[in-house]
């Protein structure tokens, strides 16, 4: 049987020790930020699909999500106020109906998520792209939320 010949799937949750440290320190950062109200970070990662990473530079916020198997037209984006909503459906193409499955870990389904950004955004400067299953949305910051350099005389 072929079932028996497939091995090496993840066993338990053992993690690389440093990776765990990394994660821990990041979670601690969130906590401190949340408590001290640093940079307006008062939220924790939501367990809502898709998981997103948000970064910023002086000009923009970048929101990234892993959506393998999806094309740009399968995702709908909307910007309202400070919020970005991502809606879509991941479809797993049905295979031959006589196919016998040994593993079925990839999942399809609908999703919808609203992400609140920490600062004001310019709804006219939104760019979105999809490259090999990763969605990147770049949203321009409004003048008010851009950092200003103040020179001391």
């Amino acid at each position: 049987m072929m079932t028996r010949s497939l091995f090496n799937f993840p066993v338990g949750n053992w993690r690389h020790p440093f990776a765990e440290m990394d994660r821990l320190s990041r979670r601690m950062d969130w906590l401190t930020n949340a408590m001290l109200g640093n940079r307006g970070l008062h939220w924790f990662p939501a367990r809502v699909f898709p998981a997103v990473n948000i970064t910023e530079d002086k000009e923009r916020y970048y929101i990234r999500a892993e959506l393998p198997g999806m094309k740009a037209e399968d995702v709908e984006l909307q910007v309202t106020g400070r919020n970005l909503s991502i809606t879509g459906e991941r479809r797993i193409q049905p295979e031959d109906e006589n196919a016998r499955y040994y593993r079925r870990e990839r999942e399809g389904g609908k999703f919808s998520r609203v992400i609140g950004l920490p600062g004001d955004i310019d709804a006219d400067r939104v760019e979105a792209g999809m490259t090999s299953g990763v969605l990147t949305v770049a949203i321009g910051k409004s003048e008010a939320s851009k950092p200003k350099q103040i020179t001391v005389h």
């Binding site: 690389h16 990041r26 898709p50 970064t55 479809r91 870990e105 999942e107 609908k110 999703f111 990763v134």
Partner: protein, 134 residues
């Protein structure tokens, strides 16, 4: 699929015992679908963020190794606001039975999904033998 369900966040699985890696960093096991039809085995793996040229598929002594290397996709001037998932390379191994015709393995990569087609060797394809009355 008649009814479509709501997708849930699934934490990425790190490789339990990573093989010796030449680069440091996190390594994840990609989610896979493996199914078999009469003609072939098919393996689909989610590897978002990997460029086609950074996917490596090795076959040695009937051990199939699928790995994908991630290049940093964030600009150098960006700082984290929220991190919900980690980014890292992908690695997973499978043992193939001899019933696979190893010379005809085919791989396609599209939208972050790898599709590997492993045709069965001639002898493993089931054959119907009809009996005719004498």
């Amino acid at each position: 699929m008649a009814e479509s369900k709501e997708l849930q966040v699934k934490e990425k699985q790190e490789v339990a015992a990573p093989a010796e890696m030449t680069r440091s960093g996190l390594v994840f096991t990609p989610s896979v679908d493996i199914f078999e039809t009469e003609q072939e085995m098919t393996l689909m793996a989610d590897m978002p963020g990997v460029a086609t040229e950074d996917i490596k598929i090795d076959l040695e002594d009937s051990v199939l190794t699928v790995s994908g290397e991630i290049k940093p996709w964030e600009g150098s001037k960006e700082s984290d606001v929220l991190v919900e998932f980690d980014v890292g390379n992908y690695f997973r191994q499978f043992t193939l039975s001899d019933a696979i015709d190893q010379s005809r393995i085919d791989a396609k990569f599209e939208d972050g999904v790898l599709r590997l087609t492993l045709p069965k060797a001639e002898k493993a394809v089931p054959r119907q033998i009809s009996v005719t009355a004498a």
